[in-house]
Amino acid sequence: MKKFLSAFFALLITALTFSFSSVSASALAKKSDIEALRGTKLYVYNWGEYISDGEDDTLDVNAAFTEKYGIQVVYDTFDNNETMYSKLKSGGVSYDVVFPSDYMIERMISEGLLEKIDFSNVPNFSYIPEKYRNLSYDPTNEYSVPYTVSYVGLIYNSKMVYEKPDSWAALWDENYTNDILMFDNPRDAFAIAQSLLGMDYNMESETAWRTAAALLKEQKTVSPGYVNDEIFLKMESGEAALGPYYVGDFLTMKENNEDLEFVYPKEGVNYFLDCACILKGTKNKLAAELYLNFLNEPEVAQANAEYICYGSPNEAVYTNEDYEYYQNELLYPEEGAFKTQIFRNLSPETLALMSTLWDDVKNYIPSNGSYRYVFFGDDTSPLATKEDLSGDATKYGICIGVFLLICLAYIIFRFARKRYRENI
């Protein structure tokens, strides 16, 4: 019996030591794994202006990451999901971490471009609340860690509109001819038309897409400027009265032009998340996971949220009273205050249809405005100070006349000087 007991204890002890040693061994191995990453490189592909970079005394996130882990971050930027996708698909680049939006994540998962994340290496994922997890594009949340959440809305210049817009229809309003901006990418532009028509953003019906395209063609009678990032310049300088864009960027514009206002149109808007993902074929997966974890450290996430001005899905940030946009009603609107829809991946056929329809929209020239495309148009905006037309003509006449007189005087002067010199 004694023997049995001692044997039992011996077994127990060995088992215990074994289990203990195995636990500590794995933790140790992990630490040494992390140590072993010193001097390696991590290739990150993110949106432009989408990380706190140390400008104006902000936190330089990439430098801080390098300092902490000794891993060098090689950082590149893209300006839209499609460019990023084309570049990854065409090969020749190898990144470890990318930041696609929701529908693009779904597409990349379905094409096997993303690597599953080992969430045990991303403990800070616990800061992401339930409402930002397991969303439609990644239902089991194995591939993505949310980075920003935001909405599309309508930006307008309060000094240039005759009434507060509350509908996407304002972008079709002929009173704002030449003063309207529009998205220069098909998905966002179609979403606005689809909102107006009360359609689903992710519909697969060809006739429905054609109806939306017809509406976008109709918009060309007000000569919208199709823009991407130039919207910053155009809205801030008062060049345009209305334009749809992302709420986070509106906050940046507002800092430069106090007259700008923002509204969530009643027909509904696009709600989107950009997430950090790891690419398949990464050569530095653990470093990539450390990076994702680092981005969700509360102070890092807050620095990013304040720099980018987009909403943060990180609970430690948006519940922090010191956070610059704490309870900002534009970035964190009440749930259900307006209709939102999220983009899903479309079938290849619908994507191809959308591309050709978008080509049609861009190439369409409305019959009433065709002269504008060859000559300098007139300013039909009712908001510009406009006087009697004949008065304008006289003014221009006088100006041109004065200019011609100056030229004539100069020629006569040259001629006279020449004669004078010849006489000498």
Partner: protein, 273 residues
């Protein structure tokens, strides 16, 4: 002996041959390959069949290219003549001034034209300051043509100038001695002599004007496409390399055809001499 010089010539030229095969011939083969396949790589005429819908865009691009080229020629020809008649020192300075904007990025220069032309831009704020109503210039065809002329004018001035600078003055004098008045001298002597410069100037302006995409996006506000925009979008956004390649192929054929026509003119010009 002859064989050895041959071999040497071959050795010297081999890097250039490798270069042009790698970076000129191979991409051309890729363009043709993509134009006649679908996204699975199988032979397909789908992309070619999709082309007719882009005919208006092609026509618009060609029209814009022609207008820009003509304006460039009208500005550049007298200017090149004037420069070539100055003293060496003045010539050098003026050519430097022509070249100077090209030291800056083409993208930045076009972007700054946006700030100059827009409704609240430099020109319009000046007009409003002196009490004139603003003129809407940005996002019109005129603005795009202005951008093309501004960006490609040096390519017209330089070849015409270099021909004019080398022109044999005794020819012009002979023309005058034979009783030609000013107009006859220009028409029968200077113009034919400078024809090679004009031809290469026209090609160097027309080709980039037709295929440009950045200018129309920034100065035209993206409200109407030129063919370069369509191609760029197929590669960047739609991920439709096949259609993009098919349009590029047609564009290349069009440009080759127009260059052949131009070369025909230049040969005639030489015959006049």
């Amino acid at each position: 002996m002859n064989k050895r010089t041959n071999l040497r010539a071959k050795l010297i030229s081999s890097p250039y041959i490798v270069w042009s095969v790698l970076f000129i011939v191979a991409p051309l083969i890729f363009v043709v390959y993509y134009a006649f396949t679908d996204n699975t790589g199988a032979f397909s005429l789908l992309s070619i069949q999709a082309l007719p819908k882009y005919i208006p865009t092609f026509l618009r691009s060609i029209w814009f290219g022609i207008v820009a080229t003509i304006i460039c020629l009208i500005i550049a020809y007298p200017l090149a003549y004037i420069i070539s008649k100055k003293t060496d020192k003045v010539q050098r300075t003026m050519i430097l001034l022509v070249m100077l904007p090209m030291w800056m990025s083409f993208l930045i220069r076009t972007y700054s034209w946006m700030a100059i032309l827009q409704d609240t831009g430099i020109i319009n704020s000046f007009l409003m300051k002196i009490g004139l109503p603003p003129v809407h210039m940005i996002n019109t065809g005129g603005a795009v043509i202005l951008g093309m002329v501004y960006n490609f004018l040096p390519y017209m001035i330089m070849p015409i100038y270099s021909v004019m600078a080398k022109m044999d003055l005794s020819m012009i004098e002979a023309c005058q001695d034979l009783g030609g008045n000013g107009l006859t001298v220009v028409r029968r002597c200077i113009l034919p002599l400078s024809m090679p410069g004009i031809v290469s100037g026209i090609t160097m302006v027309f080709v980039p004007s037709v295929s440009t995409f950045y200018i129309s996006q920034k100065l035209g506000g993206g409200s109407f496409d030129l063919i370069g925009d369509v191609i760029e979008r197929q590669f960047q956004q739609s991920y439709n390399y096949n259609l993009g390649a098919a349009i590029s192929l047609v564009l290349m054929v069009l440009i080759l055809a127009s260059m052949a026509v131009m070369n025909h003119f230049s040969e005639e010009g030489e015959m006049v001499i």
